[in-house]
Amino acid sequence: MAVDTPLKGVIGDSIRRKEDDRFIRGRGNYVDDISLPGMLHMAILRSPYAHARIKSIKIDAAQALPGVVAVVTGELLAQHKLAWMPTLSGDTQAVLATDKVRFQGQEIACVIATEAAIARDALPLIEVDYDVLPAVVDPWKSLDPGAPLIRDEKEGQTSNHIYHWEAGDKAATEAAFSKADRVVSLESFYPRCHPSPLETCGIVADINSATGQANLYMTSQAPHAHRTLFAIVAGLPEEKIRIISPDIGGGFGNKVPIYPGYVVATAASLLIGKPVKWVEDRSDNLISTGFARDFHMRGEMALDDSGKMLGLRVKLLSDNGAFFADAQPTKFKAGLFHIVTGSYDVPTAFVEADGAYTNKAPGGVAYRCSFRVTEASYLIERLVESAAIEMKMDPADIRLKNFIKPEQFPYKSATGFEYDSGDYPRAMQLALDKIGYKELRKEQAEKRKNGELMGIGVASFTEVVGAGPGKHYDIAGLRMFDSAELRVHPTGKAILKLGVKSQGQGHETTFAQIVANELGIPAADVEVQEGDTDNTPYGLGTYASRSTPVGGAATAVVSRKLRDKAKIIAAHLLEASAADIEFDQGKFFVRGAPSKAKTIQEIAFAAYTNLPDGLEAGLEGVSYYDPPNMTFPFGTYMVVVDIDRGTGQVKVRRMVAVDDCGVRINPMVVEGQIHGGLTEGFGIAFMELITFDEEGNCLGSNFTDYLLPTAWETPKFETFETVTPSPHHPIGAKGVGESATVGSPAAYVNAVIDAVAHLGITNIDMPVTSDKVWAALNEKGAAE
């Protein structure tokens, strides 16, 4: 290179995170840490019933409790047209119940008091008279004619059916199936689980009654979109709304929806003229906020006798709860589920999706799902396992046989995706080598002779992230571009303002690295700001692994814009022509004369002090980036398990993960994201479950029932990489935040199935708990 000292902290460096400095000191600023003068506290009364008519709500006793300032009911909100609000899926959702409650835990009334304890004490003083109705908890039964109508308030809604959606080519797929040598099918249920970030949701709503300024400190993964929605829903003027999303203790999609608590706290602050804080308990969080999955899927694969895939057919029913509130691009009712052909060259496919209302909390798109890619990836990888069993082929071999080949990229899938780049055999081969596949198969054969159960699970996922091209991707109509605004100060330091919003992903460091790479300002000198809508350019936020693909691209583009201007200033300083100026490692020099260089710092100073005629002062710019395509991270995961035949307990012996997310900005940060996702996948595969009894009582609304893995259960992970850059992304990066949560559940479950398939067991739905494993073994006479 032309410059002798390479700049540190550019793309590819595992520099340590700048944001850590406050977190390790306990100086993070999370919503519950915020305390404003005169602040009041809000608590929410929730319905004990899943389905009931509300006959009356008496609030006198609650209002009379000393310290209670207000009690808000749906009736009061209705007077301000706030009892119902639109959802991100074009439906409506109750803010506070008026006519009926439609899920256990639904918000009935809010108490605002001078102290949190008083607000809590007032809740049992609110008298609600319910007429209990039969609850609908099974989405299949929900679609039976004669099932109780859940959304009877919705004009034109005569059943519990929400949507029907299709992708792919029905006719061509039918034809492929009719000609197929073999058809393998799998009924697979991806159960309801919950993102459960360690910090629950909350808001401090501070509306100044004199000026109308509404400062909303909120756990929000998408502050700008939320601001616009607040303006539309609450009728507040948008320029007066400032949403500040401070430090967030984990999001995982849980902090994308707008919850009733946010709306009522805001309305309360507006009506009372004081700040109002609402921070939910864990039980509130699990019983009412955006859950994940709950997809009933039936997959069918058509194959020829050699094991080549000819077609894929999927029918699915999604259980959306009482309101259709999925946070997903509006054109896709089942998210991006149609990525379901995965890593395979499947000539034709057809997906049919239907959604049903049930008496459960609303949601479905959450928990690092990349908009339902978790469900799709799970189905295809489990179906491939079934195909391997049926065809008596090794699970790695059947995948290698059907992978999209490297030379086929960019690849147009049967359901309309254009995969940007990939090299699936390479990732697979690396995983096989690292886990010692051949030796493990030998060991398995030996153990099987003794009746010992050991399994090797394989999953080769391709997922789709980086939403997305504005023509096709919008949330509530807002196109899914994202933005970066970069301003360089005279002393050569910079501020980068983003439309995305980290909840732990390390943006303050990684995005600074992009600037360092593209403009030469050291990452330590780039201050990254996110989350304050008054001070950042409009963006759609951070979820679905879109920050690096879209926000990162915007950052690279704006850095390059400034680099172009810097070249002009450099030319002026070096008395050369701009076309002859080269850039390397933060230095600008005349081509062929690297010793005659100007640093970016010198150029920055010159931008305010010594400019060529006609050039505007300053060194700043903004980019709103509309990605030309999605990106397609991929990988192969392999898991080894041992099963205790007496108890059904599954022990994960090894977990090898090969990930390809294109160029890695900060390998250490990327690896951390993968560790986290592999752990969530582990929890989902083996222990996490929200379920309901027949009356609609939620069994999984606290950590006693909703089980999260600790350091003791969580396996050790062996992580590896291949790098296949994205050809359309400015720095070749694809995004990785959700890959491991997407790809790993099938790897864990396939390992269990691989251990017991020889006994005739070909499916166990998640969570694969010890009692289910034992019951499956026992049914085949193979339990101890």
């Binding site: 007496g646 108890t647 999260l708 259960e713 034992w774």
Partner: protein, 290 residues
């Protein structure tokens, strides 16, 4: 997540504490570790008007083997049991159980006596004491009485302890030579209650079983003592047949409910499997191995 209001008392002597309990009767509750009680208060599943905190009373954390008895005081914490080399060397069933209570941080505060008095059918210590044929000393202002562990538990969260009494001492027959024990617990993750757990405590006598104690966790309305299984082992050689039979009897003694942790059949089977494995491990330890 916030308890109802209560009055708080922190007596400095046991007599003061007993006076307070006598005064408040069933509106009073002893606060020792608080790791079972305080979560209940926070969820408002219980709202006693008075808490009697015994943590400031000196010398309630005693733990000594003396005159053929292991004596444990009401403030002896799970963590101390986990660290005890005495338990590790000769009271294996207790040493096995201690690290499996809740999680490591809860074990810093929670007490054995508190756990026993709380009498959660999924609690571990009650089962251990049943297997070890422990005695429980219940003390009130009026004096002390001793109740056998097998007579102490009467249902979920229900014991012989009166509201005016403190469980002031746990007395375990000292482990002689040729004793061995084991505690096997199936939990879905650290910190979860047991799906099933089995406590085994054996005293061997000249190659045969001198006495056997088998306790069961989470498979009945209270911690259970598998008396038929115990009786089947008395005086016999601990061969595979005897172990299998005892395990089958223990499974029969279990009365589990089907729930998210598993079916009735599943839980019964784990009782059987754990009893077998527990007896084998206990017998190895009694012989001086394991």
């Amino acid at each position: 997540m916030l308890p109802a209001p209560f009055e708080y008392h922190a007596p400095r002597t046991i007599d003061e504490a007993l006076d307070l309990l006598d005064q408040y009767g069933d509106d009073g509750k002893v606060l020792a570790g608080g790791q079972s009680l305080i979560p209940l208060l926070k969820l408002r599943f219980a709202s006693p008007g008075h808490l009697v905190d015994i943590n400031k009373i000196k010398d309630l954390d005693f733990f000594e083997e003396r005159d053929g008895t292991l004596r444990i005081g009401p403030l002896f914490r799970h963590k101390s049991a986990e660290r005890s080399s005495l338990l590790a060397s000769r009271y294996h069933v207790m040493a096995d159980a201690a690290p499996m209570i809740a999680d490591p941080i809860i074990r810093n505060r929670g007490t054995i006596a508190g756990s026993v008095a709380h009498a959660d059918p999924s609690g571990d210590w009650g089962t251990v004491l049943l297997a070890m044929d422990a005695d429980l000393v219940l003390r009130s202002k009026r004096g002390s009485r001793t109740v056998k562990a097998r007579d102490f538990f009467s249902g979920p969260f229900s014991t012989a302890l009166e509201p005016t009494e403190i469980l002031s001492e746990i007395r375990i027959p000292a482990a002689k030579a040729m004793t061995g024990g084991a505690y096997l617990k199936l939990e879905r993750k650290v910190g979860d209650f047991a799906t099933v757990a089995v406590a085994v405590h054996l005293r061997m006598d000249d190659g045969k079983v001198g006495s056997a104690g088998i306790g069961l966790t989470a498979v009945g309305p209270q911690n259970l003592k598998a008396e038929k299984a115990e009786a089947s082992l008395k005086g016999v050689r601990l061969d595979d047949a005897a172990i299998k039979q005892a395990a089958a009897l223990a499974a029969e003694a279990a009365d589990p409910k089907a729930d998210q942790r598993g079916s009735v059949d599943y839980k019964r089977n784990v009782v059987r499997v754990f009893t077998e494995r527990g007896l084998k491990r206990a017998s190895e330890r009694a012989r001086g191995g394991g």
